[in-house]
């Protein structure tokens, strides 16, 4: 079965890059422009992994993770942070909120694919 990845980022170029990379690898991609939109999409679609930015308007990445992890459908769904920070504190907060892993921007396409493979097996 084709796996579906949700990418949440307020930067359209990043979303496009993620989508291109993942679609080329045979994955389905859903996009959302902020955490609130991401929450709606994550809870109304079947997703197999979520890539989320931290710094976003409306609902930021950590808020999104907290809210999403309250939802029963989030169980077992890996959430990967896209972050520019090597900030340990933010990472710690995100993990506490329920993030599975992270990838630091700038990343290369194969790094992204490696991470996705790591958490979804796809």
């Amino acid at each position: 079965m084709t796996k579906t990845i949700l990418t949440i980022d307020d930067s359209a170029s990043i979303r496009q890059m993620v989508a291109m990379t993942l679609t080329a690898a045979g994955l389905d991609v859903i996009e959302a422009g902020n955490g609130a939109e991401g929450y709606d999409k994550a809870t109304t679609n079947t997703v197999h992994a979520i890539l989320t930015d931290l710094n976003m308007p409306v609902l930021n990445g950590i808020e999104f993770i907290r809210k999403y992890r309250q939802h029963p459908s989030s169980k077992g769904i890996p959430i990967i942070l896209l972050t520019t920070e090597s900030d340990e504190e933010l990472k710690r907060q995100a993990k506490e909120a329920g993030a599975t892993g992270w990838i630091v921007k700038p990343f290369k396409q194969d790094q992204l694919l490696a991470i996705i493979k790591k958490v979804t097996g796809a």
């Binding site: 930067s11 170029s13 890059m17 710094n55 077992g76 090597s86 892993g101 990838i103």
Partner: protein, 689 residues
């Protein structure tokens, strides 16, 4: 523009963000403690940094990183968004813009701006050198000590944290990853599995013992548990003793949890070159052209402009085909055909309106650019200015908005530079010190009128007159009303070198403004009251793609005259030449209007109609009569541009396809009126002199 190129998307996005940033900074100037503004400025910077680094704009990322660091102090309240800071921040924003638009060029000045920024922030406070914006996180860097290739068996035992399963970690995937390091044998450790009563199915009680045959798997294992190693139990032991030659190489056999923690070896500093020196070259995609595409709403769909043009073209052709059908249906007595023709007419006009709607962009996107202009001018000239914009939501065709930018810049410069008086003069005239420049847009019928108003001294008619006489535009005897004098500023060659200050006069005179507006089938008007200020009003059609036209016949050719320009139609009095004493003037209710025989203009040889008609058209202030053989009627016309080959042709502004499939050329009324006027000038001013 390639829609599927993320680099281009990044540029677009960065442009939008920079505009947002600029607007935010300007707002912040008014309201320096507004936390929302500071946050959104910070976020814009952050996104540019993150995406910039992704798409190879390292110079951008590094510069923005410092900018962001500085701004973070403002966000944290350690520094204030005072005027000086905003000034530097605006410079910085411009610098980023340059870096993004011309990544291959060496853009200097970044260091200076950053230095300024740092000194403004808390008077030369923390100037952290370009800090590690990117410590490689992929812990792969735990150094592979140079051990000869000798494999041994390693025993790994691990227990996952209790929330690992719910939080998306899949132990099977971890085991699969481990299996890729080398041949493994896996044993499940069930010692921690509680009694059934106490068992929480979501908790991974089972531990795993994995024996791996590998040379030195520490780094690889570290990688596998990259996301977990901080809070899990993990131990790694070497089982077999290595051959003697190896003994010294790997002494400590047990690495416990979180091996070689957590500082990855810092990347060689050379990888982070100084901001100004580096010139990253991501595919240089033609940056100039597709600029400013859709600066509008953030939640919009990006479509290349060409596709819209193509759609518009197709819709245009559909409308034409539909017109033919209606024509045929009108002649037919077949009611079924009539019904479907009517239905199609309704649908296609709806489709046309929707398509036009897609091209409409709120003019606010353009207006917001001028805030910066006024801000800069105000600083340069030392004139305090209040800049008020209204009607930002007014929508205009996108192409139109792009082409309006330059004329409006010119008008606003003029208003600030020439219109508004100096502070002393204003004080003397009893006006508030702050001059007001108002930019407004409003719908009026099928047109939009955009005006630039200042509350300055108004146009100096005496000076205009002197200048016009000096340039030979009028003679000292010519009697002109104030209104007519005001219009002289639009005359070609009126703007002279003397007039050029550092701000105005960048080679664009008011005549160029007028030409641009004419080209958009618009008009420009000026109202000025001495001591109270002046208003420049542009009137523009909502769209460039479709016009209402009047179809006329000259000889065997059919031509369309834009209906907006048509004032009236009259018969050409018979034998008019006889009384005209060689001059082609019509008496329209007491006013003399020159006329042009289109037959002569176009060199038509076919037999003329005995009763010729005159279509009186106006453009700006002038009027001219166009003598035609027949007036066929009104039609809605989709404008097709003439090809480049025909760009030299002055009398036509485009072409259209008629209902029967033939082509009609669209007359360029502005040019014809000008031709008529020069005829007037030769005859009337010649007589007056």
């Amino acid at each position: 523009m390639n829609i599927s190129d993320p680099t281009e998307t990044f540029r677009q996005e960065a442009r939008e963000l920079l505009e947002q940033l600029e607007a935010g900074l300007l707002d912040l100037e008014q309201d320096p403690s507004n936390g929302d503004l500071i946050n959104s400025a910070f976020r814009a910077l952050h996104t540019i940094k993150g995406s910039g680094a992704m798409f190879g704009f390292t110079a951008v990322a590094e510069f923005v990183h410092e900018f962001e660091t500085a701004f973070d102090q403002v966000r944290k309240g350690q520094s204030h968004a005072n005027a000086a800071l905003i000034e530097v921040a605006l410079d910085a924003k411009d610098h980023i813009h340059l870096l993004i638009e011309t990544p291959e060029a060496q853009v200097d000045g970044g260091e200076a701006i950053l230095a300024n920024l740092r000194s403004v922030i808390a008077g030369g406070a923390p100037s952290k050198a370009v800090s590690a914006a990117k410590t490689p996180e992929t812990a792969a860097s735990t150094d592979p000590s140079p051990v000869p290739v000798v494999k041994s068996t390693w025993r790994l035992e691990f227990y996952l944290p209790s929330d690992a399963l719910i939080y998306g970690t899949n132990p099977i995937l971890l085991l699969e990853e481990l299996a890729q390091i080398g041949p493994t044998s896996v044993t499940a450790l069930t010692d921690r599995v509680p009694e059934l009563k106490a068992l929480d199915p979501e908790v991974p009680y089972i531990g795993w013992r994995v024996d791996i045959e590998a040379e030195d798997p520490t780094a690889a294992i570290d990688d596998v548990f990259l996301f977990l190693r901080d809070n899990m139990e993990l131990s790694l032991t070497r089982l077999d003793t290595p051959p003697a030659s190896q003994a010294s190489a790997a002494p400590a056999q047990t690495t416990t949890a979180a091996p070689t923690e957590p500082e990855p070896v810092p990347a060689p500093k050379a990888a982070a070159p100084s901001a100004s020196a580096s010139s990253p070259s991501p595919k240089p995609k033609a940056p100039a052209g597709a600029d400013s595409a859709d600066r509008a709403g953030a939640s919009s769909l990006r479509v290349p402009a060409e596709r819209l043009d193509e759609l518009m073209d197709r819709v245009g052709e559909l409308v034409i085909a539909q017109a033919r059908l209606s024509q045929i249906a009108g002649l037919s007595s077949d009611t079924a055909l009539k019904t479907i023709a009517e239905e199609l007419e309704r649908l296609s006009s709806g489709l046309r309106d929707t398509t036009m709607g897609i091209r409409m962009v709120p003019i606010g996107t353009l207006f917001s650019r001028f805030r910066r202009l006024v801000h800069d001018l105000s600083g340069e000239l030392g004139k305090p200015i209040e800049f008020i914009t209204t009607g930002e939501e007014t929508e205009l065709d996108k192409t139109m908005i792009e082409r309006l930018a330059d004329p409006l810049v010119h008008l606003i410069r003029n208003a600030v530079d020439h219109g508004l008086e100096s502070a002393e003069k204003r004080a003397a005239a009893g006006k508030p010190a702050k001059g007001v420049v108002r930019l407004s847009a409003v719908y009026s019928g099928a047109e939009v009128s955009i005006s630039v108003t200042d509350d300055g001294a108004g146009l100096d008619t005496a000076r205009i007159r002197a200048k016009a006489e000096e340039n030979g535009l009028i003679t000292p005897e010519t009697k002109l009303t104030d209104q007519e004098l005001h219009h002289l500023i639009f005359a070609p060659g009126f703007s002279t070198a003397k007039e050029v200050t550092s701000l105005s006069g960048r080679g664009v005179g008011m005549d160029v403004v007028k030409r641009t507006i004419d080209g958009l089938r618009g008009t420009i008007d000026v109202i000025s009251r001495p001591g109270e200020g002046s208003t420049m009003t542009l009137r523009l059609p909502l769209t460039l793609a479709i016009i209402d036209g009047m179809l006329v016949r000259v000889g065997n050719g059919r031509y369309t005259i834009p209906l907006a320009a048509v004032e009236e139609c009259v018969e050409l009095p018979e034998g008019i030449e006889a009384h005209a004493k060689g001059r082609n003037f019509l008496d329209i209710r007491g006013a003399l209007v020159p006329y042009l025989r289109l037959r002569e203009v176009f060199g038509t040889t076919a037999e003329p109609e005995p009763h010729q008609k005159v279509v009186i058209v106006s453009s700006g202030e002038g009027r001219v009569g166009l003598v035609v053989d027949q007036i066929i009627g009104n039609n809605q016309t989709v404008i097709k541009q003439l090809s480049k080959l025909h760009s030299g042709i002055k009398s036509f502004s485009g072409a259209t396809i008629l209902g029967d499939g033939t082509v009609a050329l669209i007359l360029d009324t502005a040019h014809l009126v000008a031709a008529g006027q020069s005829y007037v000038d030769r005859n009337i001013t010649g007589r007056a002199a």
